[in-house]
């Protein structure tokens, strides 16, 4: 049916010669300007393949690609952009590095940058242990609350981050030690039960008054050197406050007993070996701003 090229009376254009269920299509010529634009696109496509990265090929055991005469790569673009960003930030980063940590909060511009940088660094470095929202978990402190093992001032936090806790290779690392009272045969099981009852009673948990009284005596003999006579802890030694509502390993009786029996020894990396002092400053400011900073 391809030879029936009828001529349409109205427009004077002939049809394509095909017919679909009685419907015919006019074979109107395409505008030449359209064709020239099309040819230009084709020429550009060919030129593109010589100028820009285009064709992959397998050679010598690995995949390569034609690089193009202009030497454009997206990796270079990204590297350049990162360098531009770093350069743009250089001045304010220097400011942060030079300003003492306690004075940065007074400068809202520096503070804004420091907090943003701290938040970013936190996500990259601290979140695996302390959680993405800094809420911690069993054995990893919640940095949002107002309970601090080693002090919650800016300089305290800065020191903790820099030297870590029980971090190998850092001789200034924080070092606290909860003895293994059962394993090292320092106390007997019933003594441990009693002192656990006493400690829990300090934060309001009820128990047998006789046990509490016995426990008080055990406490006075074994625990006050680190935890203090009032059991409010010692931030120089990293000994927790036992009278508050916050428990690093759990505040139920069984867990407290486990803690006393087998001891505890948390570890935190010494970030001073891995991060720049400026970044650590930002982290300290960020952590301090989470709501519990002193």
């Amino acid at each position: 049916m391809t030879d029936e090229k009828a001529k349409d009376e109205v427009s004077g254009t002939e049809t394509t010669g095909h017919e679909w269920d009685g419907i015919k299509e006019l074979d109107t010529p395409l505008p030449k300007w359209w064709v020239y634009v099309f040819y230009t696109c084709i020429i550009w496509a060919i030129a593109y393949q010589f100028l820009f990265p285009a064709w992959p090929y397998f050679w010598d055991g690995a995949w390569h690609h034609t690089a193009g005469f202009l030497g454009y790569t997206q990796r270079n673009e990204v590297t350049q952009e990162l360098a531009d960003v770093a350069a743009g930030r250089a001045e304010v980063m220097q400011s942060i590095a030079k300003t003492p940590i306690n004075d940065i909060a007074a400068n809202s511009n520096l503070m804004e940058v420091a907090l943003a940088g701290g938040k970013a660094a936190f996500g990259d470095n601290c979140a695996p242990c302390h959680g993405s929202g800094a809420q911690g978990s069993k054995g990893y402190p919640n940095l949002n609350d107002d309970d601090w093992l080693w002090g919650g001032t800016l300089t305290d936090i800065q020191t903790t981050i820099t030297h870590g806790i029980r971090a190998p290779g850092d001789d200034q690392t924080r070092y606290n030690m909860m003895p293994r009272f059962l394993d090292d045969q320092m106390l007997k099981r019933d003594q441990i039960d009693d002192v656990a009852d006493y400690v829990l009673s300090l934060s309001g948990t009820k128990a047998d008054p006789a046990a509490i009284e016995r426990g008080a005596k055990v406490f006075a003999a074994n625990c006050v050197s680190c935890h203090g006579a009032d059991a409010k802890g010692n931030q120089q030694l990293g000994a927790p406050n036992l009278t508050d509502a916050i428990w690093l390993y759990g505040g139920d009786r069984a867990t407290v007993i486990t803690t006393i029996e087998h001891g505890r020894g948390g570890v935190m990396p010494n970030w001073g070996a891995r991060l720049s002092p400026g970044t650590i400053k930002e982290l300290a400011l960020y952590v301090h701003s989470l709501g519990g900073g002193k």
Binding site: G12, E14, K32, G133, A245, I246, G291
Partner: protein, 508 residues
Amino acid sequence: MTNAENGLSALVAEAKNVSAMASKHDDTRSMNAEEWEPHGPLYASRVKVYPKLVHGTFRRIKWAVMVVTLSIYYLTPWIRWDRGPGLPDQAVLLDFPHRRFYFFFIEIWPQEFYYVTGLLVLAALTLFLVTSVAGRVWCGYTCPQTVWTDLFIHVERMIEGDRAERIRLDRGPWTLNKIARRVTKHIAWLLIAAATGGAWVFYFADAPTLAMQLLHFEAPTFALLFIALFTFTTYSLGGIAREQVCTYACPWPRIQRALFDDESFLVSYKEDRGEKRGPHKKGTSWEGRGDCIDCGQCVVACPMGIDIRDGMQMECIQCALCIDACDTIMDRIERPRGLIGYDTKHNEDRRIKGEKPVYRIVRPRTIVYAVALALVSFTMLYALVTRDLLQVSVLRDRNPLFVVLSDGSIRNGYTVKVINKEYKPHTFRISVDGLKGAEIRSITPANDDGQTIDLGPDSLKTLRVFVSLPKDMMGELHHGEAPLTIVATTTDTGERTEGVTSFRGPKQ
């Protein structure tokens, strides 16, 4: 022959001689079957269109529309509107760096962009309504492509002469006259295009300031870039591409077809009255023949280069210049006007049957569009009028949900954004409401009293607010949750805005 007849036949002869080569399609009556090639060309050169100047009602309407639309376009950026210190005084300004759209007394922020969406919806509905009533009036009168092409053709006509002269100039050799005229025309076009591009960027920056910067060669690169871009597009589309845009590039002609029906007023050639067409000798009878004397004036007047007598076609933008052209001729040969005119399909049928015309402008289709238009307009107006100028938006921390403090109390953190859309500064006191025992622990950043914040005119402030609930009030929470309202009260006027959120704690 009388002068009128002389003039008329001269017109016809000129139209025939010149249009045979310049019209869009071949004059089939002058060719026989053997001359016609069975295989047509794949591509065809563009046939240049030389619209002739017409005079008449619709030409006058088009001039008026052009003046009004171009005036609005070029002059609006210069209208001033005082908003107080520190804020722009341009009535219509799209301030992208500061993320505000100003329209006289209306100012919208990015989160209120739905007003612009609403405007577009209104524009679309208006277009549908107008098209279903009166056909392609958008295309023929108000479309920027039409208006600028019309303007550019007019400039061309002023410099190079009317149709016959322009064709002669094109065909002729490159004399000094031709070069001078061509150069002048293109310079004129470029100047208009640059003014158009300039006007465009004035909507996005303060017009007087930017104008001064341009004159002192201190304008920002982006402004120059956009002016260059719009100069190029206006010059190309209005001067060079012209009708090719409507025929090949624009989707609207294709969509409009779905918006007409048999009651829409469309520019039509009244076939029943005009056929049979053919030359008419003065003094002879008009019996047994049509009113169309085949003068070709409608064809030469058409800026799209089509013949309206072929019927409704996609290329016809319904600019009604052919109506004016035909009416002029009808006046001359003392026949009634309206051989080409705005007509509806139904009325054409009624006329053929001898019935009176019926105009059904109000019909289901137009009613639906009008009602939709009214609904959207009303909704937008209502939203605009009931807009709050002071707002509080609260985002509760999700990670962690809550924090237990040393004394056993529970603390929640909130990111609170206070928005002041008024043109004067305010001091706000932040407080909480709705949960017994809840109290604010801290607001950062805040004034020295720790409870109030200062907010400038037309600005937003982000605060970190910590709210705590004492241990013994934990019973206020049900399944670990209770509603909480964060309130911002202006210290001067006592106006109160609230952000509703919740307070979370451990599930008991």
